[in-house]
């Protein structure tokens, strides 16, 4: 499934947006590279699109777990489980996310 995020202009470097899908998705522009992951932190109830972006990592805004945007893996506590990552497609100035349906790999 392809989900529309926003236009390229709406997501400048260092910014993030949240797509309100059944499972919300967060899209990041990390120094010009676009990444999409599940928006809800794998630890508790926090929105990762509201987190702090640094290189290709996002820090959860609630308890500061750090997720690698390339793999979805947490690189520090308290999160232990990965979040799913999704391919990002840019077409005609619009950003889309190709939703990955399978369960997160542990």
């Amino acid at each position: 499934m392809l989900l529309a995020a926003c236009t390229v202009e709406d997501l400048p470097m260092g910014e993030s947006v949240r797509i309100d899908a059944d499972v919300p998705i967060a899209v990041f522009n990390a120094d010009g590279r676009l990444y999409a992951i599940d928006d809800t932190c794998s630890h508790q109830d926090a929105s990762l699109s509201e987190g702090w972006l640094e290189d290709c990592f996002v820090e959860c805004p609630l308890h500061e777990a750090l997720f690698d945007l390339r793999t979805g893996m947490p690189s520090c506590l308290p999160a232990k489980k990965p979040v799913r990552t999704h391919p990002v497609v840019v077409d005609g100035g619009h950003i889309y996310v190709q939703l990955v349906e399978q369960e997160a790999v542990a």
Partner: protein, 394 residues
């Protein structure tokens, strides 16, 4: 160092064990905890776990493989009763002794109570899984009004959760406003209105004078409170949220300096170089030279990195700098605080508005931002905090 013993198997103890292994300690690791459980998370005890929306399993601070990876000997359900740092022994309540080279004190704290509450059925504190389970069961059996004593973080969260369970709630606070110690008068005023909006009665400015009770079984059961100004607050269940006391009494006789916690240097090293303290029990020298102790999650999670480093180095090679970050969930709002909010001479809402219940406020002293408080605005909270506060002043 061949053996390290961690005393206290909760957040700070668990993080210490993890840091020991991550920082290369491959000797014998013993973790002593007087609760029967493997390390679990306390913040949900006044929130989701009290509400019944989170189960016991979700509180665990790790899964099977995390605990296995630590390759530690767990001595659960026994208490450490003494420590001899120079001989290198920790004595346990079952009479056994652990020979150890290093000790990490992570014994946290216990809930304080109020005089007159001893032995009364229906009066609760909230610090452990068992505390919350017993409160939950009592609330189900006695759906009469709930009185919460103390409007700090835990008291206000318990009030919010009980209200969401459909119970009538009164919060009693000796200070003039709720959360005033944590947030200062202006933002405390906003929290006052949050309680009112959700139908929770607040009685500030008068502490508890006595508990009223009635014979019940072989003992007595609470029926309410009488406040210092004579007001009567009827209650089927009373919850005390009046703070905690650090668990450092077991160190009496150890020769280590104990004063409202285990006293440490700026690197969390106690008066013996092979003993460090972490979490709610650690009273350390801050960058401004004062002895401070924090009672929140981030601190218990962050101190072990520094403490373990110094323990393994055998000297204070790193000093601890607190982020002073605290969060709370209550009345459907996410509250986040970082830095220093005390002694601010100016509090300004820099984004959003108090009315919209989504804002970020800066606390300033002499023109310098010392603290940030946000409601329902995690993104801007984090940005403001990063921009204005890092590294945080101690």
């Amino acid at each position: 160092m061949r053996t390290v013993t961690v005393v206290g198997a909760s957040l700070a103890g668990m993080r210490s064990a993890e840091h020991l292994r991550a920082q290369g300690f491959d000797g014998r690791l013993v973790v002593v905890g007087d609760e029967p459980h493997l390390p679990y998370d306390r913040p949900p005890l006044s929130k989701q776990f009290l509400a019944g929306t989170a189960d016991t399993a979700s509180l665990a601070l790790g899964d099977r493989s995390d605990f296995d990876d630590l390759d530690a000997q767990w001595r659960l359900g026994v208490r450490a009763t003494g420590l001899d740092a120079s001989a290198g022994t920790v004595t346990l309540s079952d009479g056994t002794e652990i020979a150890t080279d290093g000790v990490i004190v992570a014994t946290g704290g216990r809930a304080r109570t109020v005089p007159g509450a001893e032995g009364l059925d229906g009066v609760h504190t909230v610090r452990t899984i068992e505390d919350t389970l017993s409160l939950r069961a009592d609330l189900a059996e006695n759906p009469g009004p709930v009185a919460v004593v103390g409007a700090g973080w835990i008291g206000t969260e318990v009030a919010s959760t009980c209200r969401a369970l459909g119970l009538e709630v009164t919060v009693v606070e000796a200070a003039q406003e709720p959360l005033v110690r944590a947030l200062g008068p202006r933002m405390a005023g906003m929290c006052t209105s949050l309680h009112a909006e959700h139908g929770v009665t607040l009685r500030c400015g008068a502490g508890v004078q006595e508990f009223t009770s009635t014979p019940h079984g072989s003992g007595r059961r609470v029926t309410g409170l009488v406040l210092a100004d004579g007001t009567r607050v009827p209650a089927g269940v009373v919850v005390l949220g009046v703070g905690m006391s650090p668990n450092a009494d077991w160190l009496a006789g150890s020769g280590l300096e104990v004063d409202d916690g285990l006293v440490c240097d700026a690197g969390l090293v106690a008066s013996a170089p092979n003993v460090v303290a972490v979490g709610d029990v650690a009273r350390y020298r801050s960058a401004t030279g004062q002895l401070v102790r924090h009672e929140h999650w981030t601190n218990a999670s962050e101190q072990p990195g520094t403490a373990v480093r110094n323990l393994l180095a055998g000297a204070t090679v790193a000093e601890y700098r607190p982020s002073r970050y605290v969060w709370s969930d209550q009345y459907g709002c996410r509250l986040q605080v970082a830095g220093l909010t005390e002694d601010a001479d100016e509090v300004e809402v820099v984004e959003g508005s108090e009315e919209s219940r989504s804002f970020v406020a800066a606390y300033r002293r002499g023109g310098t931002t010392t603290g940030v408080f946000a409601m329902n605005n995690p993104k801007l909270f984090t940005r403001t905090r990063r921009k204005l506060l890092r590294p945080a002043p101690a």
